[in-house]
Symmetry: C3
Amino acid sequence: MFKLHEDRFFDPNPNVREIARELFHWVKDLPIISPHGHVEQKIFADNLPFPNPAELFIIPDHYIFRMLYSQGIPLENLGIPRLDGSKVESDPRKIWQIFADNYFLFAGTPTGVWLDYEFNIVFGIDEKLNSQNARSIYDSIIAKLNTPEYLPRNLYKKFNIEVLTTTDAASDNLEHHKAIIDSGWDARIIPCFRPDAVVDISKSNWLDNLNLLSESVGYEITDFDSYLKALKDRREYFIKFGAVSSDHGVNSVYTIDLPEYEVKSIFKRALNGKSDKFDAEKFTGYMLIKFAEMSLEDDLVMQIHSGARRNHNEVIFEKFGADKGCDIPERVDFTNNLKPLLNKYGNDKSLSLILFTLDESTYSRELAPLAGHYPAVKLGPAWWFHDSIEGMMRYRKMTTETAGFYNTVGFNDDTRAFVSIPARHDLARRIDSNYLAQLTAQHIISVDEAKKLIVDLSYNLVKKAYRL
Amino acid sequence: MFKLHEDRFFDPNPNVREIARELFHWVKDLPIISPHGHVEQKIFADNLPFPNPAELFIIPDHYIFRMLYSQGIPLENLGIPRLDGSKVESDPRKIWQIFADNYFLFAGTPTGVWLDYEFNIVFGIDEKLNSQNARSIYDSIIAKLNTPEYLPRNLYKKFNIEVLTTTDAASDNLEHHKAIIDSGWDARIIPCFRPDAVVDISKSNWLDNLNLLSESVGYEITDFDSYLKALKDRREYFIKFGAVSSDHGVNSVYTIDLPEYEVKSIFKRALNGKSDKFDAEKFTGYMLIKFAEMSLEDDLVMQIHSGARRNHNEVIFEKFGADKGCDIPERVDFTNNLKPLLNKYGNDKSLSLILFTLDESTYSRELAPLAGHYPAVKLGPAWWFHDSIEGMMRYRKMTTETAGFYNTVGFNDDTRAFVSIPARHDLARRIDSNYLAQLTAQHIISVDEAKKLIVDLSYNLVKKAYRL
Amino acid sequence: MFKLHEDRFFDPNPNVREIARELFHWVKDLPIISPHGHVEQKIFADNLPFPNPAELFIIPDHYIFRMLYSQGIPLENLGIPRLDGSKVESDPRKIWQIFADNYFLFAGTPTGVWLDYEFNIVFGIDEKLNSQNARSIYDSIIAKLNTPEYLPRNLYKKFNIEVLTTTDAASDNLEHHKAIIDSGWDARIIPCFRPDAVVDISKSNWLDNLNLLSESVGYEITDFDSYLKALKDRREYFIKFGAVSSDHGVNSVYTIDLPEYEVKSIFKRALNGKSDKFDAEKFTGYMLIKFAEMSLEDDLVMQIHSGARRNHNEVIFEKFGADKGCDIPERVDFTNNLKPLLNKYGNDKSLSLILFTLDESTYSRELAPLAGHYPAVKLGPAWWFHDSIEGMMRYRKMTTETAGFYNTVGFNDDTRAFVSIPARHDLARRIDSNYLAQLTAQHIISVDEAKKLIVDLSYNLVKKAYRL
């Protein structure tokens, strides 16, 4: 019988494990704060049963299908929809069988660990998925999905979620957020303002996105001033729906302070389709500073996610679109690139600027020193590929000694896979418990300090950092 | 009495050690597959006794003499031949004594660990080498070398080697491979096609190498078309002798797809001695794509080794030549540099492209995400300076969570030192056993999964990846 | 009652801990060699009581106040003097209270660990500092500071310091060193020659510094030749006061060998205030080679500290000056940048060139391979942000396997905080004991090797490397 071990992920040394257990005990039932993620709010607005295991676990989650693809399984066979509408596998049982046949690929990966949790704890499956039991596990899951207990809103409550943040385009009208509020359901599901699509003037669809922004505010954007006004108006709109943060996904964190006339002329060139890649780089660099300025005005916490080269595999991008597991990280330079922004606003403690990276070499070299000095800077947790057992341990070991714990912001699950939320927070709390237990067993901190810290890392810091 | 401990390299935690022991037990006697290395095939063609300990252990192995050199011992004193033929130490006993006097320098290094194995297990020496016992150990080794048991072919069988791959220039006529086959000896010693010398047009001896290539195919290479034909003909020739792979040692992994007319004109300039460094960079970048294309035609597995700045110490290079321990790694960018190649052929699962790096910061940032997405990409094991206890642990910890185990290819010993082969595989299998034991003790994988994985990592994956 | 644990920082595994304890026992009472640091020699010349806890622990130590600043506490409130002389907090008790209120911020940091040692062991405080006991601990410390036992010279002897090196500008007349010698006190407090201020021609105050240098030698510096002569004369002067080393703090380690006429013309432009940033880069790059040449003449050990972008926060720099916790590291390239210097002098074993970095990604990729090959190169210990428990473990794990132990140079405390010296050496010796214990418990080295190594790492290597 397959059952998750209660000491999972803890150091096997009994001296450490015992402390880790005790620390985890203090936080395992604390509510979940999920301040950054990509769950579709529509599922809570509609509150309909999830259709089937393939559509719940596989099709929407590039964490999972990229691994199957890496072993040569075509995305079409996994039911990933093609942009041109051509036929892909539509039988969820066939997709599920491929997944089960290849479940061993996930051994030793965080995805495997989360899935084990989801199957075992959320769905009560007591066998490890494999080719033989694929069919019966499928049946068992689908039966549960059709019970009221597994409706999205009921799972939300069962998962003990206190706040769930979605990620939304600047032009989004937040209809599902509105529907949830209007329904009277007592859940705090709030948007996050992500303006990337209207900031990156190098993208071919930038003008289309600008038009959407224009529509959303109800007036035409004819120049940089009306553009800025529209962004501010949208932030205000988001704040009405509970937003506490903005998010900025950038390749590099290049920032630059430009004279206003130059920004205006870049913007004009962009409107006329005549801007070049240097314009785009400068414009994004300038807008990051501008968004920091807006945050100082409207108190939105500012997040910067950087370091992914998006759609590295253009073949897949052209067939299937974005977010299909083909974003590949590259080196990031925070020290030099963020200097203009930090020199302008980094000394202001009323700015809350949270930095995320996919380049771990920056943890100890750049990020921890920056967070350990600038009042505005905080470190987001280990992110994406690093949201994992070893990834989180490296994060703590490479940032704590320079930045301390109190310049970090707790955990972000950053997931599209709603059912993975409790699994991810369980893992994060266990790893932090284990890290603090190791410090305690090495007599670096006391048990009392560790107990205070585990609650801060699991619950208090995230609420404070995101002003919740 | 000096005797290697049976639990060497395992985690001292008893919970982990016990599992590690059990896992190692499953694989310690499996045959050795050595799919990439630099052992001279001539030693098996001739099958003569190794001359003496200095010529067996020290003179051919830059892993060893670089450490002695770093402490100020002149290479001349170690018998390393000078290019100008001037006198160097020729008494192997004197060289051996220097080595023994300085054997403490290897404490904590993989070289030290391998040597301990070679002395203790291969040669049955039961004292740790030092100044005092240098002479007697020398005598003991040389006595053994003159027995049939220590002839190269008998050691090969004793080491339980199933396949041994050598590394050979494109123009090599593979006479020793032929002699081995002709001798009827039942060993699988196969060449690997390494065309670097005829690809890097920036090297002063490129034209000489091109002439050698020309001779090897028996026709003149007058333009890019005949050059390509010659390369393909040589690959076919290598395949006749059992080759399953090509190898490409490049500084950066820059790739670029060029219009044919541009390549042809670069090649023409190179033939006329008029190409510049930009031509050379482009040409290598283009040829990497071309070699991937050839692999798709002839099924050779393609290996790229990158990140060493060769012959950093020009003083040594000019006196002693290449491969004298003065190659120094530098940063590598896989994400951007490999993009053109991967966008062209990376989605084709019939290509097997194995990547090696000396820049560990790329493990989690670039290599694991690439291997965890592109069907063609696999990760070579921890290489060269990182073929070590901590190096292999970092490799597993930084790649597994994103790439899983099945996008890796088992172990490569990559050695020139034939007698170190069993020592290196012993170490690698122990480290993998230990890593899997840690995962098991942390309840991340089950014991059954670990048992399957250790056999895959030690034996199955390498056979599959190299199509053996 | 708060008392440091005797097993602090050791691996909680009993097999390892027991060995670590034994190794540490061999070295805990060895004299301290502090070959690089920033303690003010004036305190020993004057030998007056330290004024109060705030001025002893907080105001001079950017390691401490940067953490408080990062949480939004203005430096003015901590008594950090402003350049414009405007008012800052002058009540040491108020400063101390802020520090105590925020002492929890240091949990898990090396600063916290050192402070715990200083309070508990040096001052005999048996409570952990907090808001409530701030006042009484202040009183207790100040009472001790006014006893003879806590006078600087008595603490120096109590700390068992054998050699203490300060860091001094090229133009410094070393009056305090002279006063100490003249006083007949039997302590070895020696200067280190740090000429950065007269080398970086891009700095606005370079000419002022040059004038100081001119005054110190008693002749005018009118051209590059008299400049070189002055530097050599000053080195000779420093050597008279016991100096054994020079130190070079550079951003990148770019080196370049230039024709003399070019250097002379750059120097002339600099004298006339007409040099540009390319001149400055070349000049520093050339001077590094020149300083290596001087070292070969006068035997000063040459240290290069690189990788900090100084005064990243210009707002703080303009208000408070340099060394206020706002230096942020950035990437360093040793492989390519040091090549010219190493090709010129790196093969000469009579040069001792010690390299320090803030970019840990260079440990295994560049520094260990360089030190494991070039006779002149040695690795300085984990530095600044990495002078910490995990930082030192990473340093050993990433350098030992390639460079061995004997291409490293023992520990540097590099501190401005005199009272932290024993705490820092205690930590370093414990971490090295623990690292060697782990190697021993994994049967990589023997207990006897470990015992020899711990004495070498704690005492012998530093004396040898710094020629003390």
